[in-house]
Symmetry: D3
Subunit: 136 residues, 6 copies
């Protein structure tokens, strides 16, 4: 019996959309006010979905305490109340769009999550814009 268990979490961060190899003018042209050099920020809402077989003994897919700890270490401690561009290693090379942040979160959780599970990351940048990434 294959099921998906989902756990919600959130973090707050500052960022700007910006490519170092582009002129300021091009950054503004492409990214608009999201490229403000003084940064802006968001409350990111995250849903981590884990898919696999229900453990017949416990009736759990995964002990949610384990998943909660993974999310705390890999996402909340790492990203909460941070400036993504200045303080987070991955975004020194890549632009912190919501798409790329979802990929970074996926990769960090994937590395430590048991390989018998599939993983889906849903990330809200605002209540009206969100992305879904499954590592495909």
């Amino acid at each position: 019996m294959r099921i998906t268990a989902n756990r919600k979490a959130h973090f707050n961060a500052a960022h700007r959309l910006y490519r170092k190899d582009w002129t300021d003018q091009k950054n503004t042209e492409i990214f608009g006010k999201c490229s403000n050099p003084h940064f802006h920020g968001h409350n990111y809402d995250l849903i981590v979905g884990v898919t696999g077989e229900i453990d017949e003994e416990t009736g759990y897919l995964i002990d949610l305490k384990i998943l909660k700890d993974i999310i705390k270490i890999e996402v909340e401690d790492y990203l909460d109340h941070k400036n993504l561009n200045l303080e987070v290693e991955e975004f020194k090379a890549i632009n912190p769009t919501v798409e790329n942040i979802a990929v970074v979160i996926y990769d960090r959780i994937r590395r430590v999550l048991n390989t018998r599970f599939d993983l889906t990351i849903t990330l809200y940048e605002t209540p009206r814009n969100y992305v879904i990434y499954k590592g495909e």
Copy 2:
């Protein structure tokens, strides 16, 4: 890296469920109070999901300004504050159920959306009833 970006929107409209080729009695029998000849209405909440490859240069799947404009022209300007039965071309021939409204929205956005993207329409008629249509 394949991702889905979602954008929420909404519109308000009046409608009634009704087939011209049925008697009033049959319409009431099948559609109940949803067939009220004086119309009733809803706040429709829409989620437009676009799936494709992340653009490596910008870190975007799609510039949300473009998607926002498409939704404005194809859905909001076309359906908001309208009587679906009397004022919207597509519903002169078909019944404006939430299923059919989702199909009409899909078709209108599909026509103008770049073919490299897949499209998913999620449409809430009320907070408790909603449909998901992927053009399949």
Copy 3:
């Protein structure tokens, strides 16, 4: 011990903003697309708040089954799936703005609610616009 107990409900209806004693042009000028002669509609979300003393014997402010029945008879049966302008007595004389609908709901519930309770009506016309009326 004075407490407020709140119960949520909802109904769907069609309406248009319109004064019979104004020209069509003036109606459009003041009410914009809300005055569309073919009507539009909303999912109205309602919160009925009742304030009074906790009954020491039951620990209830009011038996919510009683409040639920009042809301069903006075609001849901009366307004749900209706055209407010054409089918609801009160709106033959007054314009069905969200303000006036809240007043009508207040008056209908006030008439049948025990006088030992105060009453507050919160009415959402859309998730972003709502009014609060206390009969003052």
Copy 4:
């Protein structure tokens, strides 16, 4: 045209996570405070998703009144205001984790739902934890 129609419902219930064939100590070790012998409880929010072809005649996937009645009989009447461990047949043998409750709901609805429809059960145990089960 293949579409998914979703209907939300909810029920409240008491439960504890517990295996009769384990010692109390082991139950507490694995399930923590969720194994409290005096029980605790939840407001379960349920989304029943039904997938199939739109009926060309009515424009419905399924008459939602039929789906509403199925949910009322198979889920609400059966589980609402119940103690899952003591009063619900299926949980005499299996542990009432949110995963197993979703499977039980799926099986009960699947038995009575027309076989031309696929079925998806989404069950929230809390606003932050939920599972999705498709009978696979």
Copy 5:
């Protein structure tokens, strides 16, 4: 400058509505299925509102870490995953209706909150039913 700062929290608990000095029949007659002797349960959502003057030095009304700790000790540790009737001192004498639970929470927080603040408790028993208590 007088302001209200609000903090949301939640807890899950089992309960039944029941008066020991009434017969089982009378309990069922008055409280219906809420009096089920095997208990049922809820996810209680709590909003703690604190009102007072903004501290000019910090710009805070109250350090939310302090409020969070008070809520953790007085509400979450005390009520979460508990059977209110069997395990919580206050409900040995009084019936655990949502009204009375709000009063108990108010009294517990009031005892430890600085007297320069006013206090408002908003408690949701389900997403559709909630109470507001201000200690008046």
Copy 6:
């Protein structure tokens, strides 16, 4: 007939909690990670409540288009996608706590809102923390 009409809006911004006249150590001691010198950010959700008499002619308290325009000019254009500490005049002198941001928004709207209306500002810094300010 006195009523309150509410309009929701939102904006995203970066900020840090910080007093220039305190040492960095004291800022960190009092404001914790909210004082991160590289900034963090939030999606601020705003509810503007306007209270007064219903206009008998239109049935409106206030034309919501007017209120929407005031919110756009005084709040969204002024604060959205900004760094509050570096780019917003008012926060050069005062600390951008959610309490102080609510006061600034109140003062800006109060200046341009017709004096026959009372004003209430509700500002969410996160979905779990929010303040209410009425200019008292």
